[in-house]
C-alpha cells in the first residue's frame, strides 16, 4: 500500500522531507519509524492524517504519516 511519509526537523538530515513509499499490508507506524532508522526514543509526535497516533497503530492505503522529533516552542 502507498503511504505518504513526512519527516520534520533533523529527521530530514540524510533522509528526505516527504515521500510516497510502499509498505505491505499490516505495517504499523512503528515499523515505518524503525525502517527509517529513526530511534523511537527521539520521536516526539506522530500523526496520521493530521491526528495524533501511536507506534502500534496500523496504517492503511493513502495514509499521510508525519514523524516529528521531540520539539517545543511557544
Amino acid at each position: 500500500m502507498k503511504i505518504k511519509v513526512k519527516l520534520f526537523a533533523y529527521f530530514r538530515d540524510n533522509r528526505f522531507m516527504e515521500e510516497f513509499r510502499d509498505y505491505p499490508k499490516g505495517t504499523t507506524v512503528g515499523n515505518v519509524v524503525d525502517g527509517l532508522d529513526i530511534d523511537r526514543e527521539e520521536v516526539g509526535v506522530l500523526m496520521t492524517n493530521f491526528r495524533h497516533t501511536s507506534f502500534e497503530a496500523e496504517l492503511k492505503e493513502d495514509d499521510i504519516l508525519a514523524i516529528f522529533p521531540v520539539v517545543g516552542g511557544g
Binding site: 526537523a9 516526539g44 509526535v45 491526528r51 495524533h52 521531540v70 520539539v71 517545543g72 511557544g74
Partner: protein
C-alpha cells in the same frame, strides 16, 4: 544590597526609595506587578490617564546566576484590554535592575505639559531628565544614540513611535546583550509608558551585587536546574530551530490559523517553517543560536540575515512568523523578517499588529499575501501615525470595528495568537479565561495537546481541557514570578529534578523554606488577585468567551468548531 521600591511621580517630578512593605516581600515579577497594580490602581481608571501606574519588577531570581532568570515583568491596566496586564520579556534590564536593589519600579502620575523625559536608575535611586533628541525616534536609533551617550553599558528600556502615539498595541522594548531588541509585547503597556511621557529608562548598577542567603546551596541547586534544562530534548530543539519549529507541526495538526482564521492549514507553511529558517540562517551566515539575556542556557533566539548577509532581525519568533505569515498568507520569510524588524523599531506588538493586518486584508485594505504592502504600510502609516496607521496600531479589534469585519479573532479585545482554538481546544480555554485577554503564554496547553510534553490530551476533544488549562495557568503565574523564561516549563513538566531545584534556588536566595504547595498557592493567589481587579473594572464571566465565529464556522481540515458551553468554561474558576 537590600531590595527596595523605587517610585517616580511624573506629576510633581519627585522620586523616592522606600522599604518593601511586608506583604510584598515574598513577591517578584508578575506576582509583584499584579499585587501592586491591584493595591494601588483604581480598576475603573483610564489606562492612559494619571491614575494608572506602570510597574516594573524583576523576577525573584533575576540578577543571580540562576539559568534563564532574566525576565522583566511590566504591569499596569491595559489600554488594549481594559484588564490588569503583565507582559514579560528578556534583555538585560531585569538582571541589572535587580542588582540596583530594585524590587519594583513604579511610575505614577502624568506631566502637565507635553515635554518628554528619561529616567536613570542606579542603586542610589532614580533621576529624571528632560529628553528632546530622541523624541519621535525609532527604537534602533534610540539604542544607537544611547550607546555613545551613556557610559557603562546600561540596560535600556524604551518605547518607539507607537508608544509615543499611545497606540493600544505599543510594546516596551528592552535592549538585548548585542544591541538587538526584546519586547514586553502584549497589551499596549508601551502606550502607558508614553502616557507618562517617559521615552526611555536606563539602568546602571555599577558594582552593586545582590545578596544570596545561602550561596553554597544556591550554586548546587543551580547546577541541577541548569542540567535539567540543558538535557531536555525540547531545549535542544529550541536552540537548533528556534520556536519557529512549530510552524510545521501546528500546520500538520490542522490548528494553524490561516487567512484571518478561515483555514487550519497554510499552503506556504514549508517556506516559513523553522526548518527553512534554520537552513537560510546557516546559508547567509547568521546565528542559529542566540540568547536574549546572559545566563540563558536554551538560546531559542537567533540572528536572521538578509540575502546580502546583513543582519535583518533577531529574536524571530514563531508567533510573529505565524501572524505575518500564515494569518496574512505571506509565504516569503524575508518579507516577514523585514516586517518584524519594522515592528521592533516602531515598538509595536508583532502578534497584535500582524493579526490586525489579517483583519485589514479581509476588509480589502490589502491583498492577502502582500508582504511588501505590509512593510510599506508599517513605514508610511503606522510609524508616522496616519489615520489608517492608528487604526491598525490600535489592534485587530480596532480594525474590525472600523471596517465592519465580523471575523475578528480577539478575546477581551486582544488578538488570538498562533493556535486555533477549534482544532486545539485546550488553548481555547486559556484564551477565554486568561485574566489578560487571549494569550497563549498564560497557559500553554500546546505542550500537552500537541507536543506530548507533560502527558497527552487529545486536542480535538473537550475532555480534560479545562483542568489542563487551569493547572498550567496556575503554574505559569508562579513561574512568571521567578523571572524564569517560560521555556523552563518543558523541562519542569517532564524532569522530576527540575521544579524542586527551582524551589531550592528560591529558598537559597532568600533564606526561606517554600514547598511545592506554596508555589501552587502563589499561582492561585496571582490569578485570583488579577481576576478581582478585572471584576472591579467591570468584567464578568460573560467576557470569558470566544468570538462568535469560532462557534459556528467549522475549521478545515478537521471541520470542527469550538463547542464549550459558557457553564463549562466557567468551571475553570473552581479552585
Amino acid at each position: 544590597m537590600k531590595d527596595r521600591i523605587f517610585r517616580v511621580n511624573l506629576t510633581d517630578m519627585t522620586t523616592t526609595v522606600e522599604d518593601v512593605p511586608e506583604s510584598w516581600a515574598g513577591h517578584g515579577g508578575r506576582g509583584l506587578t499584579s499585587t501592586i497594580v491591584a493595591a494601588e490602581v483604581d480598576p475603573t481608571c483610564h489606562p492612559l490617564g494619571p491614575k494608572n501606574k506602570l510597574v516594573f519588577a524583576p523576577g525573584l531570581l533575576s540578577g543571580t546566576v540562576a539559568a534563564n532568570s532574566g525576565r522583566l515583568s511590566v504591569g499596569g491596566k491595559s489600554p488594549l484590554t481594559g484588564t490588569i496586564k503583565e507582559a514579560n520579556g528578556g534583555g538585560t534590564a531585569a538582571q541589572l535592575m535587580a542588582r540596583c536593589g530594585v524590587k519594583a519600579l513604579i511610575l505614577e502620575g502624568q506631566p502637565a505639559d507635553d515635554k518628554w523625559f528619561s529616567l536613570a536608575v542606579t542603586p542610589e535611586g532614580v533621576t529624571i531628565e528632560e529628553e528632546t533628541e530622541l523624541v519621535g525616534k525609532g527604537n534602533f536609533a534610540v539604542l544607537e544614540t544611547l550607546s555613545t551617550r551613556l557610559e557603562n553599558n546600561p540596560a535600556i528600556i524604551t518605547i518607539g513611535p507607537a508608544g509615543e502615539m499611545k497606540m493600544a498595541a505599543a510594546n516596551i522594548s528592552i535592549k538585548d546583550p548585542d544591541g538587538g531588541i526584546r519586547s514586553n509585547g502584549r497589551g499596549g503597556l508601551g502606550a502607558v509608558m508614553g502616557s507618562k511621557r517617559v521615552k526611555f529608562i536606563s539602568v546602571t548598577p555599577g558594582d552593586a551585587k545582590l545578596e544570596i542567603a545561602d550561596p553554597e546551596a544556591f550554586k548546587a541547586a543551580n547546577r541541577t536546574f541548569a542540567k535539567a534544562l540543558v538535557d531536555h530534548p525540547v531545549s535542544q530543539a529550541l536552540g537548533q530551530y528556534g520556536t519557529n519549529v512549530l510552524v510545521n507541526i501546528i500546520n500538520e495538526s490542522g490548528g494553524l490559523p490561516t487567512k484571518n482564521f478561515t483555514q487550519g492549514q497554510f499552503e506556504g507553511h514549508e517556506k516559513i517553517s523553522g526548518e527553512t529558517m534554520h537552513d537560510t540562517i546557516k546559508e547567509r551566515g547568521g546565528r542559529v543560536k542566540h540568547n536574549c539575556h546572559p545566563g540563558c542556557v536554551i538560546q531559542c533566539s537567533q540572528v536572521y540575515h538578509d540575502a546580502d548577509g546583513k543582519k535583518l532581525t533577531s529574536g524571530f519568533e514563531y508567533e510573529s512568523i505565524w501572524a505575518m505569515g500564515a494569518d496574512c498568507c505571506v509565504d516569503n520569510l524575508d518579507h516577514i523578517a523585514m516586517a518584524d524588524k519594522l515592528m521592533d523599531d516602531i515598538g509595536i506588538d508583532s502578534i497584535e499588529t500582524s493579526v490586525a493586518f489579517g483583519v485589514a486584508m479581509e476588509a480589502g485594505i490589502l491583498e492577502f499575501g502582500d508582504g511588501e504592502g505590509v512593510c510599506r504600510m508599517l513605514k508610511e502609516d503606522v510609524a508616522t501615525g496616519t489615520g489608517l496607521g492608528r487604526v491598525i496600531g490600535n489592534g485587530a479589534g480596532s480594525v474590525g470595528r472600523t471596517y465592519g469585519v465580523t471575523r475578528v479573532p480577539v478575546v477581551k479585545n486582544q488578538a488570538i495568537p498562533a493556535y486555533d482554538p477549534r482544532a486545539i481546544k485546550g488553548i481555547g480555554i486559556t484564551y477565554a479565561t486568561s485574566t489578560q485577554g487571549a494569550d497563549h503564554t498564560m497557559g500553554y496547553t500546546i505542550a500537552t495537546n500537541i507536543l506530548n510534553v507533560g502527558g497527552a490530551v487529545d486536542p480535538l476533544t473537550k475532555e480534560g481541557q479545562v483542568e489542563l488549562s487551569r493547572n498550567l495557568q496556575i503554574a505559569t503565574a508562579a513561574i512568571d514570578s521567578t523571572g524564569m523564561c517560560l521555556f523552563i516549563a518543558f523541562a519542569a513538566l517532564d524532569n522530576e529534578e527540575c521544579l524542586p531545584a527551582l524551589i531550592d534556588l528560591l529558598n537559597a536566595r532568600f533564606g526561606i523554606s517554600l514547598t511545592a504547595d506554596d508555589v501552587v498557592n502563589l499561582g492561585k493567589y496571582i490569578l485570583k488577585t488579577e481576576r478581582e481587579f478585572n471584576e472591579k473594572a467591570g468584567f464578568t464571566n460573560l467576557d470569558d468567551r470566544l468570538p462568535e465565529f469560532f462557534y459556528n464556522e467549522p475549521l478545515s481540515p478537521h471541520n470542527v468548531v469550538f463547542d464549550f458551553s459558557g457553564e463549562e468554561i466557567d468551571t475553570f474558576w473552581d479552585f
